[in-house]
């Protein structure tokens, strides 16, 4: 594999061709905030926390580092004011949907306790729509038991009727979902046939 050298936050970083910026950064010990990235899965580019500023041929641009492939001579900055402001806004918007969920850690890190935005109702179980569960179940487990339904603000994660029979015994998506949504969904399924399971998610409530 061809070697690529680039700069991240001023530091020289070596990477292999075909890697994304986030992977190269991770390897160099630089963490970039992210919610929807998982090295086992195809880049997805949905949460936008991983946005960074790149400079190429003297032109600056904002890109999602989980999708952007490394290039020779690329200068990446993971913490400019612009990208930090984007992250703060993302945290506020997700806090408005739910006071818990995968974004909580980031909210703490950025010291954001409250959102300027409000919604009347929170969903039954928190979900940041990162799609890790859907992609894990579809691409790795090849079960197609979890899917998205609805468009725009109505988008939500659901179990596929008929395909989710094996969910109660698999439950591997519990590990990819930091938000607790999958625990909720699969337990709901279980509840129909047997008494509710006392899971991590409920204990946290």
């Amino acid at each position: 594999m061809e070697n690529i050298s680039l700069k991240i936050n001023g530091k020289n970083v070596q990477a292999k061709k075909g890697m994304t910026i986030i992977q190269a950064a991770q390897q160099a010990g630089i963490t970039i905030p992210n919610l929807c990235h998982d090295d086992r899965l195809e880049p997805y580019g949905a949460c936008r926390f991983c946005m960074v500023e790149i400079e190429k041929n003297g032109r600056k641009k904002l890109v999602a580092s989980c999708c952007y492939p490394v290039e020779n001579g690329l200068a990446v900055n993971t913490k400019t004011e612009k990208v930090e402001n984007i992250r703060k806004m993302l945290i506020e918007l997700l806090l408005a949907v739910s006071p818990s969920g995968s974004h909580i850690e980031l909210a703490k890190e950025y010291g954001i306790k409250e959102s300027r935005f409000k919604l009347e109702s929170s969903p039954e179980a928190p979900c940041d729509l990162c799609g890790l569960c859907v992609r894990y179940c579809t691409d790795i487990k090849k079960k197609n038991a979890v899917c998205f339904v609805g468009r725009g603000v109505d988008r939500t994660v659901a179990l596929v009727p008929g395909a989710s029979d094996g969910c109660s015994s698999c439950r591997e998506c519990f590990d990819v979902c930091d938000a607790g949504k999958m625990v909720y969904l699969v337990d709901m399924l279980q509840e129909i046939s047997c008494p509710p399971l006392k899971s991590k998610f409920y204990q946290n409530l």
Binding site: A46, G152, V153
Partner: protein, 628 residues
């Protein structure tokens, strides 16, 4: 049908077809586009068929079902050749008279002609100001050919450009001609088509694909659909030529399922082209192979975005994907793919036939050729208009569109689909091209053009588009999904008079954020209607903060009021009011109980004395005082 073996074979066929066409013979051409169809054009066609039989003219007069002429609001449109007499809004009852008076006796029926406010009746289609001020290169053939006839297309020099490309030009030469013409994409961003073709051509990987984007999900826009319905061969010819230049042997035409006539006519056109050997193996004996498949798309606005469209063709969910590697390198099934809009492809045969230099005589420095717009809203003549790039907005709206109806004043024009910007009167002399529209915060987009008169509330308009876009967002990325959600809430609050100055700041902040952080162009452009109205109509936002909707559209901020001076006490409004909010004695002054009024406006509509008015803001407080 015979397979054509060479260009001279095609030339022979063309001569044969032209010989058969007797130009002195009468021809009744009836628009069968979607608009006219909805007005009952198919019934008019049968009525003509019956009437010709009855009057013993069968076989002596030809009937043609053409594609959309662009002036759909006046449909069904009937044009009688060779005189080119144009009758509008033709009904079944008119058919008998048209046959006996116009066809048989050569007399004109005034009542069915277009009436120009200044010059009176207009006989010929091309003299109607709506058409006269257009330059119909691409769309013009729609009305001359039967949409389901490949022979009509061939007779009008159709597939001549393909023959020329295959027999006289190398792929490189075709590519160079398109590059030289500086043809820019008509579907959105205006990316130079030649450059896109070149990158696909040079990208490693086989096979390469070419795709026609006929998704067209903008509300109110229908130029791509009308072109695909009316003249499918012009798009197919462009696609084959492009494929030849790029080195692709497989093409897709993505058509929205909800456009059944476009699907039907395209399917038929592909079949006809195959039968003539213009598609398939060894086209015109050139050694070049090319086939086309139709993909019927299930309609969502976002499906038209390039990566979403390609996912859908692959059989996956039609959602945008991040694409830092261009689809021209890794597109459909990760192979080099060239996606262009319907109109972009339809330009190609013209450029090959007449040359890049000819093409460049139309348009501006960096935007060459013509563009088809869908002109709608508060304008006298609505429809599809094709104009050279660089024409001013004023010329389109006043010369072609005939100005604003009911003596109202122009307020703004929104360009480029739901995420275009609103342009105010001060910019009416802006030359319309890709770059100029971007400069004022709007865009060419697909070519939607919505004209708004003085009675339009710009806050309400921004809210309308943001609502549409928030519903059409796929919901995948956080900025677009959540950002639009809150932008809409803020706009709702402004329209309801529940917002403060800081909400506008927040709205601006969110707009910039959604633009910068969203994954695909839907989110990246969605704030345009908000940002442009904030820029040009800020005073209207400020008025709403003060509790006033200046044009009295936003329901929460208005009140209906009966002027005691003007009220004659006829009682009409009292009878019409659905909630019994109006009281008053016969011949006495009537009043509205604000508590019971649901603001339906029934009283306002019905009053013959202009006594009912809408009041908003300060005026409202004053009038409320005088009530007590």
């Amino acid at each position: 049908m015979r397979k054509l073996q060479s260009t001279s074979d095609m030339e022979k066929l063309r001569k044969e077809l032209l010989r058969k066409q007797d130009s002195s013979k009468s021809c009744i051409s009836i628009c069968s586009g979607t608009g006219c169809h909805a007005y009952g054009s198919e019934k008019v066609v049968s009525a003509f068929e019956n009437e010709l039989k009855k009057q013993k003219l069968e076989g002596k007069v030809e009937i043609k079902r053409t594609g959309c002429h662009g002036f759909c609001e006046k449909g069904p449109i009937v044009v009688i050749y060779p005189e080119e007499i144009c009758y509008l809004q033709v009904k079944i009852e008119d058919v008998k008279e048209i046959v006996s008076r116009t066809i048989k006796a050569g007399r004109i029926i005034d009542r069915l002609l277009y009436t120009d406010l200044k010059t009176g009746k207009v006989v010929h289609e091309s003299e109607i100001p709506f058409y006269k001020n257009q330059t119909r290169l691409i769309f013009g053939n729609n009305r001359k050919i039967e949409s389901k006839s490949i022979e009509d297309y061939i007779a009008l020099d159709g597939y001549n450009a393909l023959g020329k490309a295959l027999s006289e030009m190398t792929p490189k030469k075709v590519l160079d001609e398109i590059k030289k013409a500086n043809l820019r994409g008509r579907g959105g961003g205006g990316f130079p088509a030649g450059r896109k073709w070149e990158s696909v051509c040079n990208a490693p990987g086989e096979p390469k694909y070419v795709i026609v984007n006929c998704d067209e999900g903008d509300p109110g826009a229908y130029m791509d659909r009308s072109l695909m319905e009316g003249n499918p061969h012009s798009v197919i010819e462009g696609l084959i030529i492009g494929a030849y230049a790029i080195g692709s042997h497989k093409g897709y035409i993505y058509v929205r399922q909800e456009y059944p006539l476009a699907v039907e006519n395209t399917e038929l056109a592909i079949k006809q082209a195959e039968e003539y050997g213009l598609l398939g193996k060894n086209i015109l004996n050139s050694g070049f192979d090319f086939t086309i498949k139709i993909h019927r798309g299930a309609g969502a606005f976002v499906s038209g975005e390039s990566s979403a469209l390609m996912s859908a063709i692959e059989g996956k969910v039609g959602e945008p994907r991040p694409k830092y590697i261009h689809t021209s390198e890794k597109g459909l099934w990760d192979k080099p793919t060239c996606l262009n809009n319907v109109e972009t492809w339809a330009n190609v045969p013209f450029i090959i036939n007449k040359g890049a230099d000819w093409f460049k005589t139309f348009g501006t420095e960096n935007s060459k050729g013509t563009k088809i717009f869908s002109l709608v809203g508060n304008v006298n003549n609505t429809g599809l208009v094709e104009v050279p790039m660089g024409i001013t907005l004023r010329e389109i709206i006043y010369n072609i569109g005939g100005g604003i109806p009911n003596g109202k004043k122009f307020k703004a024009v929104q360009n480029g689909g739901p995420s275009g910007g609103c342009i105010p009167e001060t910019q009416l002399d802006l030359p319309v091209d890709f770059d100029e529209l971007n400069k004022v915060g709007s865009m060419m987009g697909s070519g939607g053009m919505i004209v708004m008169d003085e009675d339009t509330c710009m806050v309400d308009i921004a809210r309308y588009f943001v609502k549409f876009l928030s519903q059409e967002s796929c919901g995948k990325c956080t900025p677009c999904r959540e950002g639009l959600r809150h932008m809409l809430r803020i706009l709702d609050n402004i329209a309801d008079g529940k917002a403060a100055e800081e909400d506008i700041k927040r709205l601006e902040e969110l707009s910039e954020f959604v633009k910068e952080a969203s994954l695909c162009a839907l989110g990246q452009t969605a704030p345009n209607p908000v940002l442009s109205t904030l820029k040009y109509f800020r005073d209207e936002y400020d008025a709403h903060l003060q509790g006033e909707c200046p044009v009295k559209v936003c329901k929460e901020l208005i009140q209906y009021y009966i002027d005691p001076e003007k009220c004659k006490g006829c009682g009409l409004c009292l009878n019409k009011c659905p909630t019994g909010a109006i009281s008053g004695e016969k011949k006495g002054v009537h009043t509205i109980d604000v508590g019971k009024c649901i603001k339906c406006g029934a009283c306002f509509e019905v009053c013959n004395f202009d006594a009912v008015s809408k009041i908003s803001g300060k005026e409202r407080n004053l009038k409320e005082l005088t009530y007590n």
